[in-house]
């Protein structure tokens, strides 16, 4: 123990001497290097380690390794600028920060679906249902649905921990909703309600990853929950590249190539992540493509992790959402043939209820002993938040024709979806009109992922300040316009190409101003760095 402490202390001193002029790395802090050196010196001569137990030198290295650019450096910088705008108005060439970095619709003015909120309010405060005045304030079908939901909650106690998979009656409703969507039955026992889809993804990564020798195939570009989660759970990310020239298409030949390469390096590839509709890329898979993917997973013995949280965000007439479960079942594949985990969330779609943290995973094709383990891990956290569970059941069972709220529900839903489609198109066209920028169509989801050809001088300028070129561009964009986007390096991209992800979520009336400011910035940037 003493010898170990001495070795570590030596490394600390040596490392801190080297790092004094280099940019700070997670393990060495140039500002505290002298303190670290002093502490290390003390440690060498005493029997106890004097450096604090929870410092970056001593925390879980997997925590250090993982990254999540969506709320990373550029966002922190934006927040600082926002504070400056408040304390020193006029200090910047813009008067508001426009957060286009995160799929958070309601923070940018999107309104929640009235019917859903009526039901949730009644479930939050069931005493309302005993009051006559309630009928004047709430629609009759919201009242009826609230009663229905409370009847499946033991004791009508929405404040009690539920079953660790989620309230049974709500899972029944969700299973019915899945069956109605797909035309194939769903089993409530396969459903695990979680605080958003993200914890469910973490659970599966935890289950699947034993060591760095276990790999998960992930699309590049990908939503960085996957890379972060794989790093956090100590596994390896095996990338497969989506084809930008073919509308971000997914080729099984590419899957096979990456799989074989990983295996040849001794990696056990355990699962394939497919995000459909895609994030950040926005493509909607065609059914034939999906069949190939199902076949591939079945033949190679991979778990198919189907991130389907954008299933209600489709903006093109010629594509529709098909769940992987539906595709697999329509190929005649059942529980024996394919391990499939499908993720859904209340955060996206037309409901955009990010702050509620509602979602679920549907787990099919797993044997009982494995399901017990999934249940066990879920039980340690007891259960997900009840309000989110209720919302998930509403999302999968919205008002139907004939219900009192149906027409207003449809108007709200279609208003949001058609607006999203218009904004997707407007921004796509705007990006394509910029010099050196190409942008694939956003067929679905909530993002655009334009590719920018950066002049060599810009790339060198970026390197000179130790930034990735796309991060450099994004930072300059922020400082000139107040628009916050996420550099493509946060999602992965073919080396040597540069992108950024921009949401389509700012309110429609702000879009023209965003486009003109973007254009002005981009032209000025190119002029500055023209070869």
């Amino acid at each position: 123990m003493r010898r170990f402490a001495t070795e570590r202390a030596k490394k600390l001193i040596f490392g801190s001497l080297l790092s004094r002029s280099a940019p700070s790395s997670p393990l060495c802090s140039s500002s505290s290097s002298s303190a670290a050196a002093a502490a290390a010196a003390a440690a060498m001569s005493s029997t106890t380690i004097t450096s604090s137990p929870v410092s970056v030198e001593s925390i879980n290295p997997k925590v250090l390794k993982c990254e999540y650019a969506v709320r990373g450096e550029i966002v922190s910088h934006a927040q600082r600028l926002q504070e400056e705008l408040q304390t020193k108005p006029g200090s910047h060439p813009f008067d508001e920060i426009l957060y286009c970095n995160i799929g958070n619709p309601q923070s940018l003015g999107q309104q929640p679906i009235t019917f859903f909120r009526e039901v949730l309010a009644l479930c939050d405060h069931p005493s309302l249902l005993d009051k006559d005045e309630t009928h004047g304030l709430f629609s009759a079908d919201a009242i009826a649905r609230a009663w229905q939901i409370l009847d499946v909650i033991p004791g009508r106690a929405t404040g009690a921990y539920s079953h660790s998979q989620g309230i049974k009656g709500l899972r029944d409703a969700i299973a019915a909703g899945i069956a109605a969507r797909d035309g194939f039955p769903a089993n409530p026992e396969d459903i695990y309600l979680t605080d958003g889809a993200s914890p469910a993804v973490h659970m599966m990564m935890q289950l699947l990853l034993r060591s760095e020798n276990d790999g998960i195939l992930c699309p590049i570009p990908q939503y960085p929950l996957y890379s972060a989660s794989i790093a956090l759970h100590g596994g390896s990310l095996v990338p497969y590249y989506l084809d930008e020239a073919a509308g971000w298409g997914l080729e099984t030949s590419e899957l096979k190539k990456q799989l074989e390469e990983a295996r040849s390096k001794g990696i056990n590839v355990r699962a394939l992540v497919v995000i459909n509709p895609g994030n950040p890329t926005g493509q909607v898979l065609g059914e034939e493509n999906q069949r190939e993917i199902v076949e591939f997973c079945k033949n190679e013995g991979l778990v198919l992790l189907a991130d389907e949280v954008y299933q209600e965000n489709i903006y093109v007439e010629d594509k529709k959402f098909n769940s992987f479960k539906k595709v697999a079942r329509s190929m005649g594949y059942g529980e024996e043939d394919l391990h499939l985990v499908s993720f859904q969330s209340v955060s996206k779609g037309y409901y955009g209820e990010c702050g509620k943290r509602g979602g679920y995973m549907e787990v099919t094709g797993f044997r009982a002993d494995v399901r017990e383990q999934i249940y066990k891990v879920a039980s340690v956290n007891l259960c997900s938040n009840i309000s989110g569970q209720i919302l998930a059941s509403l999302v999968m069972n919205p008002p139907k024709v004939g219900d009192e709220s149906y027409e207003s529900y449809v108007a709200e839903r279609d208003g949001i979806l058609s607006s999203l489609a218009r904004r997707a198109k407007a921004l796509e066209d705007a990006f394509n009109n910029l010099e050196g920028v190409t942008c694939n169509k956003a067929e679905g989801a909530m993002y655009l992922f334009p590719r920018i050809c950066l002049p060599q001088k810009a790339i060198e300028a970026a390197r000179a300040v130790n930034k990735a070129p796309d991060a450099f561009y994004a930072l300059r964009l922020l400082e000139a316009t107040g628009i916050v986007v996420v550099p493509g390096s946060g999602f992965g991209q073919v080396p040597g190409t540069w992108h950024f992800r921009c949401t389509i979520l700012p309110q429609e009336d702000k879009i023209p101003a965003i486009i003109s400011r973007l254009k002005a910035f981009h032209e000025a940037f190119l002029d500055e760095f023209r070869d």
């Binding site: 106690a157 699947l208 702050g355 007891l382």
Partner: protein, 481 residues
């Protein structure tokens, strides 16, 4: 035939090692029996609303209004919501441009973290920094995040009290660390014995384990004891000398049923002790809306507060929090309401105070009823539930019972609890789920069944227990364990 990737054999070993008895074998058996039509009294988990405790009215009114802000525009809203609930809903809605439907800051809404900091400042007499307070979907998620940050590998040890709330053992297994137990002294009211702690630490270190952190649960779960100021001082000194971060699980701070040892936070004592301890000892404190007199388990609202952690570590913890984007906003509002409650003079204050008082007084009564009830049973000895929500009686099982258990392939306390369940419908958690000294058996039950039902429940237990003891005792009386 293609290999199956998700066979039991190929699962993450750490997942397989996890045990969480609170929703384990007994609970699953109880659920089966319930499906078959048997009346079950679930006392396996601290879940007050499931046993009839009513939610406090005011917070539900506020959150319902936040949930459906269009109500605030309705001229008739004042007919069914009091003015202070309306005002408070507007207060919370003003903190977030997207209402309940937007991801908040990954640490939680700044406005609510400020309310939490103000609460801590009032409670302890020392200022608290909202930037060092992170809201989470329940305290458990916070505990898991922190343990995941600390544990690097199997050589990292975490000191955990035995008996403990098995979230700690489960999380340590999941993250591949080592649990270093320190036994609470049942005969000394579940007190702490520092010699025994030092021995545990020395034993761990001799096996090459680096002891990194120490968990205290105050008031205790399942044991209920409330630490004295002197206890906490000694613990802080210990952490200082042994270079440990103190993880103070204080989720039951509102649940105190005796007056000799009121709740004092570890943070307050840390600062009372002055430098070097107040500046050097790293402390993380946890709290929740699930317990206390609120009992809002289903909302998943909680927080942790960090003291004396280096800024870079805080940044890393923030980074991991950001991957999950944000804690649920309604849960955050419940937390805000809990730490920033109504004051005398507020319209709804009287009702709120009456509801709260009634719950706490009843819990105190039930703590006594249950303790006394257990102590009146043959071969059962029970320390008083000074705090929290549980009773943890020691069941002195006769040798024949232990043998019968072995024959049935069950741990002795599991055997007893299953028999108890089948005979009476009372669903408890065997002591082995929490840890206990070798050969000493307990069960954990909650003090949460309704007060009117308590006498019948204790009578039912006594009837079962005394019959069980009669059945399994030999003529010499109970075995001396």
């Amino acid at each position: 035939m293609s290999p199956k990737p998700l066979d039991y054999e190929s699962l993450n070993e750490n997942v397989k090692k996890v045990a969480y008895a609170v929703r384990g074998e007994l609970y699953l058996r109880a659920s089966e029996l319930q499906k078959e039509g048997k009346k079950i009294i679930f006392t396996n988990v601290g879940n007050p609303h499931a046993l009839g405790q009513k939610p406090l009215t005011f917070p539900r009114q506020v959150v319902a209004l936040c949930q459906a802000p269009f109500l605030l525009d309705d001229p008739n809203v004042g007919l069914i919501f009091p003015a202070d609930a309306i005002a408070r809903a507007k207060h919370y809605l003003s903190m977030t441009s997207g209402g309940l439907g937007a991801y908040s800051d990954s640490r939680g809404l700044p406005g609510i973290r400020k309310e939490v900091a103000d609460f801590i400042g009032r409670r302890d007499g020392y200022p608290s920094d909202p930037e060092l307070i992170f809201l989470t979907d329940g305290a458990s998620k916070g505990v898991m995040q922190i343990l995941n940050t600390i544990i690097r590998n199997g050589n990292d040890g975490i000191l955990v009290p035995v008996p403990q709330y098995p979230l700690y053992s489960a999380a340590i297994s999941l993250y591949g660390g080592s649990l270093v137990p320190y036994f609470l002294e049942e005969e000394a009211n579940w007190g702490i014995d520092f010699n025994s702690i030092r021995q545990s630490v020395a034993a761990a270190r001799s096996k090459g384990i680096t002891v990194r952190a120490m968990v205290i649960i105050n008031p205790g779960n399942p044991t209920g004891q409330c630490l004295s100021e002197a206890n906490i001082r000694e613990l802080l000194k210990f952490c200082f000398h042994e270079n440990l971060v103190l993880l103070a699980d204080e989720v039951y701070q509102q649940n105190v049923y005796q007056d000799e040892r009121p709740f004092i936070s570890a943070r307050k004592i840390l600062f009372d002790m002055g430098p070097p301890i107040s500046k050097e000892v790293q402390l993380i404190s946890f709290h929740t809306v699930s317990k206390g007199y609120w009992g809002e388990c289903g909302q998943r609202g909680g927080y942790f507060e960090m003291t004396n952690l280096p800024p870079k570590t805080v940044d890393e913890i923030y980074k991991v929090a950001s991957i999950s984007l944000s804690p649920n906003v309604p849960g955050q509002i419940f937390l805000g309401l809990m730490v920033n409650p109504l004051k005398p003079g507020d319209i709804s204050y009287l009702k709120f105070a009456t509801e709260s008082k009634a719950i706490l007084e009843s819990l105190r009564k039930r703590a006594h009823i249950m303790t006394d009830g257990f102590n009146s049973c043959r071969n059962v000895v029970c320390n008083f539930t000074e705090g929290a929500m549980y009773s943890f009686p020691q069941i002195r099982l006769p040798l024949k019972a232990i043998e019968a258990a072995k024959k049935a392939g069950k741990a002795p306390d599991v055997f007893y609890c299953l028999k108890l369940l089948e005979a009476t419908g009372i669903s408890t958690v065997p002591g082995s789920g929490f840890g206990q000294k070798e050969g000493v058996f307990h069960l954990r039950t909650t003090i949460l069944p309704a007060e009117e039902e308590m006498p019948a429940i204790m009578a039912s237990f006594k009837k079962f227990n005394d019959a069980f003891m009669e059945q399994y005792e030999d003529y010499r009386g109970y075995s001396r364990m």
